[in-house]
Subunit: 367 residues, 2 copies
Amino acid sequence: MNPSHLLGPVLVLGSGLLGASIGLGLRAHGIDVIVSDPSPSAQAVAVDIGAGRAFDAAEYLTPELVVVAAPPDVTAQVVAGALARYPSAVVVDIASVKGSVLAELQTVESLAPTALGRYVGTHPMAGRERSGPVAARGQLFNSMPWVLCPSEASSEHAIKVAHSLAIDLDAVVFRFAPDEHDEAVALVSHLPQIMSSLVASRLADTPQHALSLAGNGLRDVTRIAASDPSLWVQILGANAPKVLEIMQGVRTDLDRLINTLSAPTAPGARLDLAQLIAEGNAGQGRIPGKHGGPAQQYSWLTVLVDDKPGQIALLLTEIGEIGVNVEDLRLDHSAGLQVGMVELSVLPSRRVALVDELTVRGWKVLQ
Amino acid sequence: MNPSHLLGPVLVLGSGLLGASIGLGLRAHGIDVIVSDPSPSAQAVAVDIGAGRAFDAAEYLTPELVVVAAPPDVTAQVVAGALARYPSAVVVDIASVKGSVLAELQTVESLAPTALGRYVGTHPMAGRERSGPVAARGQLFNSMPWVLCPSEASSEHAIKVAHSLAIDLDAVVFRFAPDEHDEAVALVSHLPQIMSSLVASRLADTPQHALSLAGNGLRDVTRIAASDPSLWVQILGANAPKVLEIMQGVRTDLDRLINTLSAPTAPGARLDLAQLIAEGNAGQGRIPGKHGGPAQQYSWLTVLVDDKPGQIALLLTEIGEIGVNVEDLRLDHSAGLQVGMVELSVLPSRRVALVDELTVRGWKVLQ
């Protein structure tokens, strides 16, 4: 399939973070975007930031595409309404669980039998910590996965239009069956969310003294525990069967661990503990590189820099002169101290030469 | 207490990552350090990298301080040996569980009754993904927590020497009772490790297709699942009672979640799910800022850059010219795409001016 660009007009139903970001991104291509939201203020903000023009019920619209960016709970209902009201439009939704939306749509009797041919479920896997149209950005989907989950009824034309939407927003397109998608996100998204929340909820009544020992391990594990409860209720509710199956597996593992910890000197106890960590090693090692690309291995090196403006820039300028591209970068320093550490990842083939060259130039490289 | 600097000599027993890093850090202050390791090759590497001079059994040593940096399993035994062999030295260990070491020491009959007065259990909370003396750095403890866990027997002198060690290595000193320490690390360190391993172990048999949808949430939650099984067997084994209590609480929460997911449309199901996420929100919000310091708030901004050598350097050079210090920095780009995003954190008071100035200079700043 060779997706062309969208021609428009595109009607975006729902002007939260994702809907407004889609509008912004399409407007940047000059596409005519109309935004509609049950909340007049949310719609007005989206229009004000340039996500599209306001929906006007009196206007006769023949959109090429309707993007349903409503809360997951009402998505199927809004999709059905859009399919009925715009009989020539392709309709996509962006809810993060796909099987339940499709199942609900298949029960809507008022839909013409062929209407589902114009529908494609999709899931753009992008977001921010903040919500609402104020947080929207046109580049939100840039190089993030966008999963197309056509049903067996979806027409080639509808799939092509959905594909064009993702491509126009610079996303990386994946194609999954709806059920296969829901299994995958239960594992890679809903499981970590639940486990992160379970860890963080243990901290709610802890003395602050104990929390003062928190390190990066705890911070990493609990980062997504800051997520929005109302959104996650809908996601977990919609994907309950798939999530349940995974959580039952976790409970089996947890029960075994609890038995082991109850008798830590019993024969086999150490092997059990080692196995848990080793299986975690194996699973963690299978996670591919950023954005679902191939798991490119990079080499890391650490450079000490003075903690003052310009030092990191100077370092990166010299690395640019040496001709090496920095693939990833982390800073580790604390305010008020004089030395910071810059951890850099580069292609393994460039590492030795870079270390040598930086050392010659007087940088302190820790290996 | 006003800790003075160590005078030395300091004998470091065990030249793995932590022992060798302690040696390196103290040598940087000109302190006489002797390193000893049952593995001649590990000891030789530590000496070669400048972590101290080689232990010589024929030399008559009167160390000011003996640092036991042995594996957790044998720590108590090595501490007891050091207390007996060096009757004027203060002895500290650095094992990550403290109650079990102290309990074991209290059962050693051969120790003189006053010997425990010279012992202080400590726990420097620093580490790296790699182990062994080759990975050692003198700055490893710089601004990281170092917990002193004196027993009731510990003398003021011994506590002061232990304090000096942490201060000489630029660590941030905390003081906990041994039992209180073990409860705290069970929560802030051992719990996240277990949960991260439980998530990652679920990925071991997953189709690679599903893993291609992995995002930063999964990556964050499973980062520490890459930890060393042999070390964690010892840590979890030594702290089993405290970890068990926490994991039983997790099981209760998990059972409740499983019940809810089994009947997601039952009355109260949504409230249950919302509560789990909301409690996670509350717990996550209580975690203090990096290095246990006050939770300094920074403002983030995102700048789009071309994904080629020199662009990030150019950006940081200009930020340096504007005179703003970058507190933290994250790159988000994928190989092969032409645009990367640089997320920068700066002091909130400098943010507006920086955004304005960067925009004037032609950078594309997303807010």
